[in-house]
Amino acid sequence: MKIGIVVFPGSNCDYDCLTSFSRLAGEEGLRAETKYVWHKESAPETFDAYVLPGGFSYGDYLRCGAIARFSPIMEEVKAHAEAGRPVIGICNGFQILCEAGLLPGALYMNRDLNFICEHVFLRTERNDTIFTSECRKGEVLNIPIAHGEGNYYADDETLERLEGENLVAFRYCTKDGLVKPEVNPNGSRNNIAGIFNKERTILGMMPHPERAAEIGLGSDDGRKIIVSLLKSLAK
């Protein structure tokens, strides 16, 4: 399998994604080729999955992800996604997916207006997807966030649809899996930390699974998400 890690100018979790995806593939005995894809490439080789990593694409001086979506590579990512092939957007990658219209809603400034970097708990809302098959339903994952604009917003109608179609991937919760306002770090509606598209082939999430992919970093819960995707690609 071939996995493309898209590098926008200002991406800064590209290295972390590359090292964690390739290491975990190795540990699982899967043959995976992980490669950086420069954003100016309009028709690169074919990839089985794209990763849009975190960072500050174009400095995020306008709205997060608002310029990145115009990068030549995004045409290719869109075509890939429309063909039903997997895309995962993490942090800035999630913001770009929203800006590009591949996922609904938007990421606003955090409720307290500051950047927040810390470990949080996430409740896995469903495990019948290519991104969560390694998790139990309702499993609580310990994965860090690091963002200034991660406050998920969608209008009532969209939110209703997301909830109705079970497209919420993760919610901020307590250690015991309770979804409460006091553990909502950024003011996201319904404590949403990540969502799927209708077909559940695209995942956008603010927390960083690649930062929790080995126990030496305090948690290896993030590996479940990455390994789920890797295994589904191997099938």
Binding site: N12, F56, G59, F115, C117, A146, H208, R211, G218
Partner: protein, 764 residues
């Protein structure tokens, strides 16, 4: 023929004084040029000979620092940053630098560009920056002004570092009256590279083109270096234009483009444009290369119309580099910068006449011998007088202090609520401290520990300096700064390698300030020798002073150590019920038992006096050697050194500082301790609990390993006292059957965690 421009002002004694040059310096300048300077040349000399660039008041003292060692690859002063060997062909470049004045005037941009500047110093060496730290000093947080300053400075550091994708993993913060109107912002960065990838900042090879790369030049930051070389006054506000504006996105592009360039062999040298911008980078590259450089500043990309050569040369616009390219490789270099959408413009070439020649549309506007201006700056040895206040300070006796009341738990809680002692999470949570997935110890332990994945090496880093100690006894205080940073590294399982320093002082032309400076340099030197940690570079920041007076001398040390094996990594919090708790004590002979200069004395008794804790370096070294041996033998579960707040604060911190991130609530492990063995050698209870006596570390270990530890300590002449056991939800400290401290760990932890918020709440 050097020409003045039609609009150049006439050079008068007033204009010379405005440029910060003395009449003697002006004569010296003329001696070098062998003629009168043009206005442009006057500007060049003014920044090159500013304190900030020339170190004219400090260089003679700095020569006393030990700078050599088998681990040192690039020594202090040789290049933009020192480089040390970390084994297996890998090296790290690191340095700390101040951005105090800009941050005082414009906190957000001042701090942000401080980070940007230090990052360029690192990647210009060929290294990829992977660690940021910072050391901050503010006034008391109960004023709105200080709160805004804290918010602005932290916001600026976060803005720059987060966007660059470099984790900010540690540092230190003090809140003290002395920094009320002179905050300190010292930014540190460390980068990693293969030894054979080290880049040099030199211009060699006659005819090689000189490239300007990165952001366009604007009028921001003109005379920033000169601004940083004077005291802050009311008028400083008017010099706001001396503060640069940072663009971390631009710097990220510049970083990636430069690192890509370093993978080729297209260049002979590279130098960042920091203080004094284009002027300094051309002079220094020519001086180092033993060559000359000729540039035409009309070719420099400009952000504003009608900039004069004077302005272009002196601008401190950020995110710019000077690159000396091999002739014939111009096209290849252009291609790399085009990929990253960056300017790369050929503005001149290397010559062999030793001159820095500046043209403007073909006209020569400055022509200065490069080596002389860079290396022959005036050097001073200002008069130094022992400050008068020291007499009273050193005569202070413990007997002058009233005996404490019975509520020791109350005092402990109060000290834990001190923002200087309490949690710094409010700050580090705003920094991305996890990017690059190497932060194996989250912020909050004695030292920051980082795994450099690309090199598979573990580094341990610590920033330390207690300015109050240095005020009360500069030699002792500076020794402690070095000793404590080394001790923190050892507590984390590492061995100290080298250090960088940032010397923050008042106005050096005042003899009492200069005496403090000289004494601090002496103390640092002794410390460096004791731990075999050479100084690899750093920065001097004078004039941290306003009409009310100078800051406490603050010679900040950032030490870099290495942890040889992952298994050695040790953190400060208790790990397991039933473990035994011991104090390893180097037994410093301290008449005041660590009360002099302590937080206890300052905050509980409102006294800033007494000799600071004693630091005999051999005793400290013996302690550190035993501790490291014990850690490496695998018997130590936690190690936390005694510092501000003393033994009781240290013990409390062992109970509740485990990162909350990993649990939904704070991990709470109480302890039942008996300090009687320590009480036998301590004059009174407040000194026992809150004295900051040096060379002490609280460790916890499995009971079956106690004998092994006692044997190791015994052999080295280090005291090892059994204090008690880990367990329960309370911290109790007894002495001779009397309970001195008894508190719920959860509550003590809350006081510590909410320290800043509570201190900020008690607003004026």
């Amino acid at each position: 023929m050097v020409e003045s421009l039609p609009k150049d002002p006439l050079i008068t004694p007033e204009l010379i004084a405005d440029h910060g040059l003395t009449p003697e310096e002006y004569e010296r300048l003329k001696g070098i040029l062998k003629r009168e300077p043009t206005y442009t040349e006057l500007g060049i000399f003014s920044v090159m000979w500013s304190e900030h660039c020339s170190y004219k008041n400090s260089r003679k003292q700095l020569k006393n620092f030990p700078t050599e060692g088998p681990q040192v690859l690039i020594k202090a002063g040789e290049e933009n940053a020192g480089v040390i060997d970390v084994g297996d062909g890998w090296a790290v470049a690191f340095k700390v630098e101040s951005h105090n004045h800009p941050s005082a005037v414009e906190p957000f941009q001042g701090a942000a560009t401080g980070v940007g500047g230090i990052l360029r110093d690192i990647f210009t060496m060929g290294a990829r920056p992977v660690i940021n730290m910072n050391s901050l000093r503010f006034g008391r947080p109960n004023s709105g002004q200080v709160q805004q300053l804290v918010d602005g400075v932290v916001g600026g550091i976060a803005h720059y570092g987060n966007c660059m994708g470099i984790p900010t993993i540690g540092g230190d913060v003090y809140y003290d009256e002395t920094y009320e109107t002179n905050c300190l912002v010292n930014a540190f960065s460390l980068g990693v590279m293969k030894i054979n990838e080290i880049q040099r900042g030199e211009a060699t090879g006659v005819g090689n083109p000189v490239f300007y790369v990165g952001a366009a030049t604007g009028k921001d930051g003109i005379h920033g270096a000169t601004f940083a070389s004077t005291e802050l006054t009311e008028e400083s506000e008017a010099k706001r234009s001396s503060v640069q504006v940072g663009d971390p996105f631009m710097e990220k592009l510049l970083l990636e483009a430069c690192l890509e360039l370093f993978q080729t062999d297209h260049i002979v040298g590279i130098q960042d444009m920091g203080a004094a911008g284009l002027t300094c980078s051309t002079c220094e590259t020519a001086s180092r290369g033993g060559s000359g450089v000729e540039i035409d500043v009309a070719l420099v990309p400009q952000r504003e119309a009608n900039m004069t050569p004077y302005e272009i040369l002196l601008s401190e616009s950020q995110e710019r580099m000077l690159v000396i390219v091999k002739k014939g490789r111009e096209e290849a270099v252009h291609k790399i910068f085009e990929k990253w959408d960056l300017h790369a413009v050929e503005i001149g070439h290397v010559t062999d006449d030793g001159l820095m020649r500046v043209k403007y549309n073909g006209k020569v506007v400055a022509e200065i011998p490069a080596r002389e201006i860079a290396d022959d700056a005036p050097l001073y040895d200002p008069p130094a007088t022992k400050p008068r206040y020291l007499k009273a300070v050193s005569a202070w006796k413990l007997s002058e202090l009233p005996q404490p009341g019975s509520d020791m738990t109350g005092i402990l809680t109060k000290l834990l609520s001190e923002p200087t002692i309490g949690s710094k999470k409010d700050i580090y949570r705003r920094y991305d401290h996890m990017v690059r997935t190497g932060t194996v110890v989250l912020p909050g332990s004695d030292a920051a520990v980082f795994w450099m994945r690309e090199a598979d090496k573990y580094l341990s880093l610590s920033a330390d300096c207690n300015g109050r100690y240095c005020y009360l006894d500069p030699v002792m205080g500076s020794r402690i700064a070095v000793a404590e940073s080394a001790r923190n590294i050892v507590c984390s399982g590492g061995r100290p390698l080298a250090l960088t320093d940032c010397l923050n002082f008042g106005n050096p032309t005042k003899p009492e300030i200069y005496w403090q400076f000289k004494a601090c340099v002496e103390g640092l030197k002794e410390g460096c020798e004791a731990f075999n940690t050479p100084v690899t570079g750093g920065n001097v920041s004078f004039y941290n002073e306003n009409p009310e007076g100078a800051i406490d001398p603050t010679p900040l040390v950032v030490m870099v150590g290495q942890i040889d094996k992952k298994e050695h990594i040790t953190t400060q919090w208790f790990k397991k019920e039933g473990d035994v708790v011991c104090l390893l004590d180097g037994l410093q002979d301290d008449q005041l038992a660590g009360i002099g200069g302590s937080e206890y004395l300052r905050r509980i008794h409102d006294l800033k006096t007494g000799c600071p804790p004693v630091m005999e370096l051999e005793k400290e070294k013996a302690l550190q050697d035993v501790l490291l041996e014990a850690i490496r033998s695998g018997i130590i579960r936690s190690a936390h050194d005694v510092s501000e707040g003393g033994l009781a604060v240290c013990a409390a911190e062992c109970c509740f500082t485990a990162p909350m991130e990993l649990e939904s609530e704070a991990v709470v492990l109480g302890a039942k301790l008996d300090f009687s063995p320590v009480a036998r050698r301590t004059p009174r209870h407040d000194a026992l609990l809150f004295g900051e006596q040096q060379s002490r570390v609280i460790v916890s270990l499995a009971p079956e390993n106690l004998t092994a530890l006692e044997e190791m300590a015994g052999k080295a002449g280090v005291q090892c006292d059994l204090l008690g056991t880990v367990g329960g939800g309370e911290l109790t400290i007894m002495v001779n059957g009397e309970t001195l401290i008894k508190g719920e760990v959860k509550e003590l932890g809350k006081a510590w965690r909410d320290a800043y918020a509570n201190a900020a709440k008690t607003s004026e």
